[in-house]
Subunit: 368 residues, 2 copies
């Protein structure tokens, strides 16, 4: 139970991985870090981090409709992987595939999204490739440097560790809900979805957090993957106003959508989830706040009297390999993410069925 | 005349480039090298080379039909860019987009193509991303290291320099001709198209060649781009049996296709074209032969009594910005590649029209 290969996406990745010989200078194993980490021949103290991400499914399904969003997310997706390994970015290359006729205005707007995302984090696009294809597909590859002595991966989670998140979640799934349900744009405008790679936070976490992973596939998918990799589970404190963004809470209230769906859906927000000894929580929180004021750093949301401070403590690592939701009612329920994670593959692109199966799975866990 | 922006592809790239701020640590300008070159913070003696290439158009148009070829070329395309800047490769990441149902056997075969290409050159795939899309699109991003003191770019061509090529050309356009004309596979089997990135050659050329660029878009496109960048042209010695592969010559003879089309077409073979002082030709040739026997090096074709040795000298740099073909008949003609290079954009995907316009352009140059 709780094996990596219960998840169809892991199986699909392994089908590729098994074809390839492992590089001698590579220090991470498959699945075990958000970015690949390799030795640098001329620099014994540092590792090179590299990662590649394609934004295509989100465009094909109509999740992203504005070229600006497509460009923005392409940059943030690959930088977020660098953040999760605590790397200092060196730059990005992009490969842009788009229909020929669309080129002028599309390039202008998608390029601006990429550039704005880069400027917000002090990172640069170094170059790229362009292709003419019927459908838009954007790929970003980012590289960075991380001190060998401060490696940060998805492995290292210890029972008793506190679990934190660098910001409030749910925007990705909120946009997903609006698109899949065909709700009008104003319920959750696409422009509300502007995730920011937590690069400054990652630099603080390296050498201090026991493990980290970004929430690109949603919060509960991230925790599920961390559980499968580490053999320990999580108890999640479902204090919704602390965990979910205000606009996400408002969407749920307006549409009668249960809050848990905003954590369980597959479209994330590029926050970092990390684990650390509970005794380090306060010092780490302070260090993260300091870092967010630095040059080229992303702004972390402000502390609020009513809300838990950033980083938000969302739970605790438990010995047994299960994800336990501690609900506001006081109930605790174990959930099994495998069927939800596989639903995108098994529902065959039928979104109505996907949404209804999604809710049904929550029902089988005792959620509504 | 002969401006960079006479070429629609350059204009399309510039539409993206102009959206982006330039990175402070980047040492190459746009268009001026096959891979991007940036400073490494912890290693003052070396530059990091990075490049990204998507193989999608070649699959959509039916040029590549076997997943093995698709995988092989994805790896070679991005490694070839490292070869052209003389970099020692550190590794590759790949992003694979393919239809869901196809995943098992497609991944097996495309993955094997990638792995075989890597093994032939001693390079490793570090990781990647996978997506489900209706059409296949494969992206490779490769990184490498190059000594700062031995930078090799597309700039530096000097009048009087000898022009060389690392191997015989034409396989890419031969495959293109067979596909576009709907000829049976046996005229030029897809398996004859197995280009190899000239990494070992690139390492020899750095610090010795005045400029280098790979022939990924065909020989005459490469020379045309070098001319626009350097302001000097080329006289090309059209000694067909020396320049074109045997199987390419055979295809031309069998189908009555003029040889020049195998240099002028847009689908290349990933040889390197480089320029060097004519006085260095012999020493460089010897060094290239030695390198090809080294560990992880590609084999250069054997010398043959009747054929010019590898590297093949294909011509000379001339002061004026024109490409002059010195034909076997003794005739010399100037050709203007701009309309041919733009033909893929202006023919709107109509291949019959493309081929007929292509031949017509040659006719306007005085070729048949």
């Amino acid at each position: 139970m709780n094996r990596m290969d219960d998840i169809l996406e892991n199986v699909a990745i392994d089908a590729w991985v098994k074809a390839f010989s492992r590089a001698p200078g590579q220090v991470n194993a498959p699945h075990e870090s958000d970015a690949e980490l390799i030795e640098l021949p001329g620099d014994a103290g540092n590792l090179l981090a590299i990662t590649i991400d394609t934004v295509a499914e989100e465009i094909l399904t109509g999740l992203y409709q504005g070229p600006y969003t497509m460009g923005w997310v392409t940059v943030m997706a690959c930088l977020s992987d660098l953040a999760a390994v605590g790397a200092d970015p060196l730059g990005i290359v992009v490969s842009v595939s788009a229909p020929p006729g669309r080129d002028g205005s599309f390039a202008e707007s998608a390029g601006r999204g990429m550039e704005d995302a880069c400027r917000s984090l002090g990172v640069f696009i170094l170059g790229g490739d362009s292709n003419m294809t019927p459908e838009v597909s954007l790929t970003g590859c980012s590289i960075g440097i991380v001190p060998k002595s401060a490696m940060l991966t998805r492995r290292g989670v210890q029972p008793g560790d506190a679990v934190f998140m660098t910001g409030r979640a749910g925007a990705g799934n909120a946009l997903g809900l609006v698109r899949l349900s065909g709700l009008p744009d104003e319920y959750f405008p696409e422009s509300n979805y502007r995730p920011s790679a937590r690069l400054a936070a990652g630099r603080v976490l390296r050498g201090r957090a026991t493990a980290a992973m970004d929430t690109s596939d949603g919060v509960l998918t991230t925790l599920d993957q961390l559980m499968r990799l580490n053999g320990h589970g999580f108890e999640v404190d479902c204090d919704w106003p602390a965990i979910l963004s205000e606009d996400v809470l408002a969407l749920c209230d307006r549409t009668g959508t249960p809050y848990w769906m905003m954590l369980a859906g597959p479209h994330g927000e590029f926050e970092l989830i990390f684990t650390a000894p509970a005794t380090d929580a306060e010092a780490l929180s302070e260090a993260l706040h300091e870092a967010s004021g630095g040059l080229g750093a992303e702004a972390l949301p402000e502390k609020s009297g009513d809300l838990k401070p950033i980083p938000i403590r969302i739970g605790t690592v438990q010995e047994r390999a299960a994800i336990t939701l501690a609900l506001p009612s006081g109930r605790r329920i174990d959930i099994d993410m495998s069927s939800l994670r596989n639903l995108l593959d098994t529902s065959g692109g039928d979104f109505e069925r996907y949404l209804s199966e999604f809710r049904k799975t929550g029902g089988s866990w005792g959620l509504e």
